[in-house]
């Protein structure tokens, strides 16, 4: 951009590079989605990436996609730090929400299972109980 001196030339060069960024972001989002769908099909056909591993990949890729949408399409990545922080810091509450509520749900499931009528209540202090399948 150094060789352009006029205001208009500078503007045009800037916009051109931005259009390039838009399309690059589009291809990234599309490729990630295709990888996700591809992995899902691979799992359906071969069962290869185990369910837990696959879910971890899906969640990770979702966060990557969210990053590109917010940073590039919504332009947050190019705003000043004050604006970025005022939006992102409150969203950190989600970390706690997700951990707390999913833990709660899991614990609820275990209580339903363990306290079901007819479940033997003896076996005092049996930590090996975790091992049994359901």
């Amino acid at each position: 951009m150094e060789h352009t001196h006029t205001e208009a030339g500078h503007e045009a060069a800037h916009v051109d590079s931005s259009t390039k960024t838009i399309w690059r972001t589009f291809w990234i989002l599309l490729c990630i989605t295709m990888v996700e769908v591809g992995l899902a099909f691979l799992h359906l056909e071969t069962g290869f990436p185990s369910r837990v591993f696959l879910n971890a990949i899906f969640v990770g890729l979702t966060v990557v996609k969210a990053f590109y949408i917010v940073a590039e399409f919504m332009h947050l990545g190019h705003e000043i730090k004050n604006l970025i922080l005022t939006i992102l810091i409150p969203l950190l509450l989600f970390v706690w929400f997700i951990i707390a509520f999913l833990y709660e749900g899991d614990s609820w499931k275990n209580m339903r299972k363990d306290l079901k009528p007819g479940t033997p209540i003896e076996t005092p202090k049996a930590p090996a109980k975790e091992g049994h399948h359901y």
Partner: protein, 224 residues
């Protein structure tokens, strides 16, 4: 704030926005943040219920139809198309915002129109999917699909699916309406007269947010 953007500018000393954006854009950001918590609450409650259930229906068994393909087993294909449409409409929206920076009225109108077309296409896809599921017997309070382990499923699955995709679809609908209003103003020359196209940026933020939510809905309901 030792940001490299502006050398030693005292952002909080008054005289200008400490966030370096207009009031309207900042408020749009705060609105979207609150909306993110609304969607977050819905999706986390879905996750909680799913974690508390011994078993859950397999999305690849439930969402496997494509319009005009009869009973072909095509998991994920239709929802991938919907995702593509929404991402594409996000791209046309950014292009409209950029045309607005260039004060190119015709280009803004063109890209806004394509964004509206994308939004309507997405809504049509969702309408088809809902109708299809309804005819299979799924609705709020009714769930014909079995759990993965073959046991009878509760209605939690369909209740959450229709509530959350419905709430998202409502956002897409209001986004399309907003886009139409903005497009009308563009064509009327309101923003040309005002000297800037910032309203296109604001409605663009909302539209990208709708796309962002879909990314999470896609993962939570169709992939996991």
């Amino acid at each position: 704030m030792d940001t490299a953007v502006t050398a030693k500018k005292k952002w909080w000393a008054g005289g200008y926005s400490p966030f370096n954006v207009s009031y309207g854009k900042l408020m749009m950001w705060y609105f979207l943040m609150s909306d993110a918590f609304t969607f977050g609450a819905l999706l986390i409650s879905y996750g909680t219920i799913r974690f508390s259930s011994p078993s859950w229906p397999d999305p690849n068994e439930v969402f496997r139809s494509f319009p005009g393909m009869g009973h072909a087993n095509l998991p994920l294909v239709f929802v991938s198309l919907m995702t593509f449409i929404l991402i594409m409409s996000s791209v046309t929206m950014v292009l409209a915002v950029h045309a607005g920076h260039m004060r190119d009225k015709k280009a803004v109108a063109k890209w806004m129109l394509w964004t509206i077309v994308g939004g309507i296409a997405f809504l049509s896809c969702q309408a088809w999917e809902w109708t299809h599921l309804y005819h299979e017997g799924a609705w709020w309070g009714r769930n014909p699909f079995l759990n993965v382990d073959g046991t009878l499923a509760s209605t939690n699955f369909t209740n959450f699916f229709f509530t959350i995709t419905g709430f998202h679809g409502l956002h897409v609908t209001s986004g399309v309406i907003l886009n139409i209003v903005i497009l009308a103003n563009v064509l009327k020359g309101t923003y040309e007269h005002r000297g800037h196209y910032e309203m296109v940026e604001k409605v663009g933020l909302y539209w990208h947010f709708v796309d962002l939510v879909w990314v999470f809905v896609f993962t939570c309901f169709y992939l996991l």
